[in-house]
């Protein structure tokens, strides 16, 4: 803490947190409840399975002061179902947001415009008809936003984004080495067995 200036700690910017959590019912609810309860502003939260069936992984982007990010990390670590947490904002990392953007393409100009714009992005047209087309892009969040801005004048009629997923570069990884407990009847702790 001593090496950082207070200035640094107090300015807000987007922080990307990774959390490895047990794949159990209610865990997403617990994490969401923590953010609501502590009044932390969530920009995006994604959750999905991992290479281990008993583990899920979350990428949480929050807009907070760095000092608050530490409190968030400490609060996440405290949760029983949270296995590991990292704040990768200041480490080299890869982050991706996926968007499906439905644009109006009911005349040749708009169709051409969409095609041309997509050439400048890691984007492609995945569905096209006489009325609308769907553009898919997977890229860093800011690039996705640029594309959206370019497409906007043509006429966006529907849009969906996954929210950011991220992974640190190099050998520093989230610790997924833990194996779940196996109960007498062969079921594993951590596997979904809700509402039998």
């Amino acid at each position: 803490m001593s090496s950082e200036t207070t200035q640094n700690l107090q300015s807000t910017f987007k922080q990307t947190l990774l959390a490895l959590v047990e794949n159990k019912p209610g865990v997403l609810n617990r994490v969401a409840s923590l953010f609501r309860r502590r009044n932390f502003n969530v920009d995006s939260l994604t959750v999905g399975r991992t290479h281990k069936p008993h583990l899920s992984r979350m990428t949480i982007v929050v807009d907070v002061k760095r000092v608050d990010a530490r409190i968030i990390v400490a609060n996440l670590r405290k949760m029983v179902n949270v296995i590991d947490v990292q704040n990768i904002s200041e480490q080299p990392h890869i982050s991706r947001d996926l968007a499906l953007i439905k644009v109006r393409t009911n005349d040749p100009e708009s169709r051409n415009a969409v095609t041309t714009i997509c050439e400048h992005y890691p984007a492609r047209i995945v569905d096209i008809g006489t009325q609308v087309a769907i553009v898919e892009i997977t890229a860093r969040e800011d690039i996705v936003e640029e594309l959206i801005d370019e497409l906007r004048p043509i006429g966006i009629v529907e849009l969906v984004r996954t929210g950011v997923v991220a992974m640190g570069r190099g050998t520093r990884i989230l610790d997924s080495s833990y194996e779940p407990r196996v109960f007498a009847n062969g079921t594993q702790a951590g596997l979904e067995r809700y509402g039998v």
Binding site: V67, M79, G195
Partner: protein, 567 residues
């Protein structure tokens, strides 16, 4: 051994060392109550009169003993009635395990009779909770729940058990292996670098002060705290829940800090050049305005919960660890020091405070709450376990009943839960039957859970109930007097005749209206083997001084004028 889920619950409770549980039956928990029958000589069930009482009793039991308190309730309304007690325990880090019945698994989510999403409702007010959906997990879950409740920063854990899981039978094998939770590793010891940094700050400090909290008591670090204070001659201030962490008669104990703390403590904190905060969390009731808090002080903060470090107050050395372990790491290299000037300065503030003490005024015939508490202290030899409710009487207890031993002053600090006093006192008495237990309650809060009088009678629990009756929601009235131009909206109270009420329950009672009866009232309480109720009819418009208005600077206290300055 083929056992039902309910029997497994009993077997697991016994293995956790539980011999008393507080609860209330109902449909969804009935199988477990039925199983209790065969275990009734090993686990005593206390039938409460409202589930809130069960959660506070488990809480009082836990605070008094350091063990996990257990409460039990049925689904739906039974479970929701526990919520206030869970939230109270959560705020004050008290280990409780709450067991609730749930509708059968197949009915979950169907709005079945008495179905409530209890794990959902209690999520923010528990340290952790479970819905047990498979009987094979039941025993391990209970073991895990106790482990989580009592380890690290303790707290309440709830286990919701569907009715059909309670009745299902399996071959029971107790999970003997230790709990393994990959995502839960409370930190205990400090990094040696942090210890070195903390020692440096202590060596260089000229005006150091210790802020001792509940954590000292929970980790049993009283001896270590005392050694730290004595060797480095550092004065000690206490939080409300830290009362008992250091004997209050000790020359280095300055008193309680905060909103109604001793002025000397608050001034000392504001002028200190080093705060050593141990097992406390800089609650707004102890810091006042954070922007002006302890402006000259470097800060060392030891707390078992890493998320408390730098939460409210930015610190120079933050140590997430068990305070006893950390102090033991620190003590070997702690230098002997003296701070005669600093301590002299604090003495002056203390003397000024004594001069303003209401007990040094001529109060004529008035029976002051302060006097009642101070005399209770005198006549109980300062040795009772006092369990307070919330309000002016609570602050009077904190100010006028000095405690020498840990876990002898039990109070709802973080949540400030009215209605806590009586049930928590009953729970405390179950935990420490050899101690003299006094519930010190206001006329308002007492009426929130006074149904537990019946519990005290049914169980013949020897608690002495002191009601400080000012016919007001006194603490709120004080705020109205100070900040709302004496508009006493909804604070005067028409009360029942508390002595007649006691009589209806078969409880001996006494009404005290003047000071000369106080000694006799203590003798009266002691002369009965069951619960006793004493009503102290006190001054209606007493004020608790000093007071740091909410959000004000800690040193900007409203003080009682000195007698020389006129009243």
């Amino acid at each position: 051994m083929l056992l039902s889920g309910s029997e497994i619950v009993m077997e697991c409770l016994i293995r956790e060392g539980v011999n008393v549980i507080f609860g209330y039956p109902g449909g969804a928990i009935l199988p477990t109550y039925d199983a209790m029958w065969n275990y009734r000589d090993r686990i005593h069930h206390v039938l409460v009169r409202h589930e809130q009482g069960a959660s506070h009793m488990a809480d009082g039991y836990a605070r008094a003993t350091g063990k996990v308190g257990v409460c039990i309730a049925t689904s739906g309304p039974g479970a929701t009635n526990l919520v206030t007690g869970l939230a109270t325990a959560m705020m004050d880090s008290v280990p409780i395990v709450a067991i609730t019945g749930q509708v059968p698994r197949a009915a979950i989510g169907s709005d079945a009779f008495q179905e409530t999403d209890v794990t959902g409702v209690t999520l923010p007010v528990t340290k952790h909770n479970y819905l047990v959906s498979d009987i094979h997990e039941l025993a391990y879950t209970i073991k895990e729940a106790f482990h989580i409740a009592r380890s690290g920063r303790p707290g309440p854990v709830l286990i919701d058990i569907p009715k059909d899981v309670q009745t299902e039978k399996i071959e029971f094998v107790y999970p003997e292996e230790p709990i393994f939770l990959p995502g839960y590793n409370p930190s205990l010891a400090a990094d040696p670098v942090d210890i070195e940094n903390a020692l440096d700050l202590i060596r260089n400090a000229k005006r150091p002060i210790i802020l001792a909290g509940h954590g000292i008591i929970m980790s049993g670090a009283m001896q270590e705290l005392r050694e730290l204070a004595e060797r480095a001659q550092i004065p000690v201030t206490l939080t409300l829940l830290g009362k008992g962490a250091m004997p209050e008669s000790h020359p280095l104990t300055v008193g309680m800090m905060g909103m109604h703390g001793a002025a000397a403590c608050n001034y000392a904190i504001q002028e200190a050049d080093l705060l050593i905060a141990l097992g406390m969390r800089f609650d707004d009731r102890v810091t006042g305005n954070l922007k002006t808090y302890a402006p000259h002080a470097k800060k060392i903060h030891v707390d078992i919960d890493p998320s408390e470090i730098n939460k409210n107050v930015r610190v120079d050395v933050g140590i997430a660890g068990d305070v006893k372990t950390v102090l033991r790491q620190l003590l070997p290299d702690l230098p002997s020091k003296t701070h005669p000037e600093w301590i002299g300065r604090i003495r002056e503030w203390q003397e000024d405070g004594n001069e303003r003490d209401i007990l040094n005024y001529d109060n004529g015939e008035k029976l002051l709450g302060a006097r009642v508490i101070n005399d209770l202290w005198r006549y109980t030899g300062g040795e009772a376990i006092t369990v307070t409710d919330v309000g002016q009487h609570q602050m009077l207890e904190a100010q006028y009943y000095p405690h020498q031993r840990p876990a002898t002053m039990l109070t709802s600090g973080g949540l400030g839960t009215m209605g806590f006093g009586l049930p928590a006192a009953i729970g405390a008495k179950f935990g420490r039957p050899d101690e003299e237990v006094w519930a010190i309650v206001g006329d308002g809060g007492f009426q929130m859970t006074m149904c537990e009088l019946a519990t005290a009678v049914q169980e013949n629990v020897k608690v002495n109930i002191a009601i400080l009756n000012n016919a007001y929601l006194g603490m709120v009235r004080q705020w109205q007097e100070f900040f709302y131009e004496e508009r006493y909206q909804s604070t005067p109270m028409v009360n029942p005749d508390f002595c007649k009420l006691a009589e209806a329950y078969g409880i001996p009672s006494m009404r005290v209206t003047s000071r000369d009866q106080i000694e006799a009232s203590v003798a009266f309480a002691r002369s009965h083997s069951g619960p006793v109720l004493i009503e102290y009819v006190i001054e209606k418009e007493e004020i608790i001084y000093p007071m740091v208005p909410a959000g004000a600077d800690l040193h900007n206290m409203i003080r009682r004028p000195k007698p020389s300055e006129g009243k």
